[in-house]
Point group: C2
Chain length 370, copies 2
């Protein structure tokens, strides 16, 4: 089974549409993956996610390894059965969470040594273990263990982390036991074009099912992030999917799609939903704002999600102010609908070879007002 | 439009089936009303509630008066439109919440003076205001303002509170402006049979659309609670629905239905769901118990709810231990399904005149093990 096929390409930019094939079905790209860190997209059921048009979810190796444990999930029939999701799942390798969440993280040649953020227990995550955990989960798409580079970082740090990421990627390839599960390499290289290119070329030479761009959206200026995408993208094989990890805002998605990226994940729609920040065709709104106290209209008049079809801004504000559990769910439904619909419209625009017109329209709407 | 019609009656006990008619449709009784305190049944959408077979919800005058305010809800088109629920809604009057939640509550002849639990502001809730608030909300069934009696209480306290409840009930009747909205009187009388009977008779003489039994499940022994139901029930007109407020456990529902009660509400299924306590045909289980860590079976093999059809005890335990928002929703769906299904089975048993057989079977199952 081929990993990926390109089905359409923009004549004006690098945007492309395609299909990612996995053992749990195919995913039309460009695609956004809702984040289901702990074997659940916070507040939503698999039924909700299907209803929203989600086709692939992201799970989290670091979290699931610590709790409830990958061996337990394997004995319970794998992650799909455990969480009741029958579509594809991509899992990240845990590298980023070790970097961002774990206490006392120490990177060694052998792997990452860290203390659990749950109970303080000591763990060593090696490239081999990262693959073992993801194979136990039964991830359709597994990620190699990588080492994250903070922004800003000196060249020595970039060189060291990028080199180690390549060596770990080779060890992940060697450790793989289930070839039907896709394995993606992760391009590092910090914000240094030379190292970005080198990292991409080294990974491409190893030969992965797909490639991720790691270490983006870590605080760098937007222009620099896009420059890194532009730098790395041409070094990666055209017949493989490219995934911008942790990216991003709606604008980031549009700009990265324009530069040939196929897959995305980000906590933004789900986390901001829980903080009461909602995405709309005309920008973001903060639902607890007093101006919405008696506003009978939907969050976004242009939106067709369950939340916008049934509830007013006034009701959503009430739920949020009263800290009602339903607030988190209705806001999450709205925000994920916004992101998934944005991707759907981009795919459609690419298929009609009208991506630049879509992009202009996208920015024009934001300048309008509700 | 008649308020209520009896459609079947047990030949063995006082259990009866019927239909409550409201401007938002009819409700087959005996019925359980999920509690939607702040214009939401915690964690569920109206769509979820329809799917669970809920036919009538309970809203909370005290909470909605304080936040977001009944005038605001009226301007937004009423409580039904505000919360997106098109079925009947019963609202309690706020008397119980003033008693249990508000700071510095003081009962005067004129009404209850209290400080808001939200912001400490001072309020006076009179019988007239309780009706005004509920009419602004557009409640299908409104409750008179009453005064709660703690357990235990001396006779003087019982006499004073019961007398005041009757006088307030008369004032509620006089204050009513929307006759299409049902108004129920609330029987008090503490745990004193003489005062219970007297309270029921006084309210029946005033003439309400239905009658509630208040001040039950406040810490008294179960036998005493049932004795109060048996005492008051015959004093109330047979062509009117009777509602046991805040009752109760599955056993309480069965016993009260056997004694002729038609309507119930209780936070038990929803609150216990959020605390990880799940109701099953064989009793309650505490989902965080370590024995469920790797249990691949559903919460209750006899249950057909969404949660039991899709998820294992192991998954529900994981969600609960990880404090995932989905835990609250899946548990709430399960518990409400249990309560609503219990009522459905009781209605069906009454219609077949097989209530006593149902009751025996109900207790026998509890003695079994999972």
């Amino acid at each position: 089974m081929r990993v990926f096929e390109e089905t359409a390409r923009s004549s004006e930019c690098a945007a492309r549409a395609g299909r990612l094939h996995t053992v749990h079905g195919e995913v039309p790209t460009p695609a956004f993956m809702p984040v289901g860190t702990q074997a659940t997209v916070k507040s939503l059921t698999p039924e909700d996610l299907h209803g929203l048009g989600a086709r692939i979810l992201l799970g989290n190796t670091y979290h699931l390894y610590l709790r409830p444990g990958h061996e337990r999930i394997r004995r319970l029939g794998g992650l799909h059965r455990f969480m009741g999701w029958d579509g594809p799942i991509l899992t990240d390798s845990g590298g980023f969470q070790v970097y961002s969440l774990a206490a006392l993280a120490r990177i060694e040649e052998e792997g990452a040594v860290f203390r659990s953020h749950v109970d303080g227990s000591l763990h060593r995550l090696t490239p081999e273990l990262a693959v073992e955990v993801q194979e136990a989960l039964g991830s359709d798409v597994m990620m190699c263990l990588d080492t994250c580079i903070p922004y800003p970082a000196g060249e020595a740090e970039v060189a060291r982390a990028s080199g180690l990421t390549t060596r770990w990627a080779a060890r992940c390839l060697a450790a793989r036991r289930r070839p039907e599960l896709r394995l993606f390499g992760i391009v590092q290289g910090g914000m240094d074009p030379v190292w970005r290119r080198r990292s991409a070329e080294e990974l491409a030479a190893l030969g992965f099912d797909g490639y991720a761009l790691g270490g983006l959206s870590v605080g760098e200026p937007k222009a620099l992030m896009l420059e890194m995408v532009e730098t790395a993208r041409p070094c990666l094989p055209a017949d493989r999917p490219v995934y911008a990890m942790g990216v991003g805002t709606p604008e980031d998605l549009v700009e990265c799609v324009a530069r040939g990226v196929d897959l995305f994940d980000c906590v933004l729609p789900t986390r901001n939903a829980r903080n009461g920040q909602l995405f709309t065709s005309f920008g973001r709104i903060v639902i607890k704002n007093a101006r919405y106290k008696e506003d009978p209209g939907p969050v976004d008049p242009a939106c067709t999600c369950y939340t916008c079809r049934h509830f007013s801004r006034a009701y959503l504000r009430h739920l949020f102010v009263a800290r009602e559990l339903l607030a988190y769910r209705l806001n999450t439904i709205h925000n994920l609908h916004y992101f998934l619909e944005l991707m759907r419209r981009m795919r459609e625009a690419i298929e009609r070879d009208a991506f630049e017109a879509f992009r202009r329209d996208f920015y024009q709407r934001r300048e309008g007002t509700p």
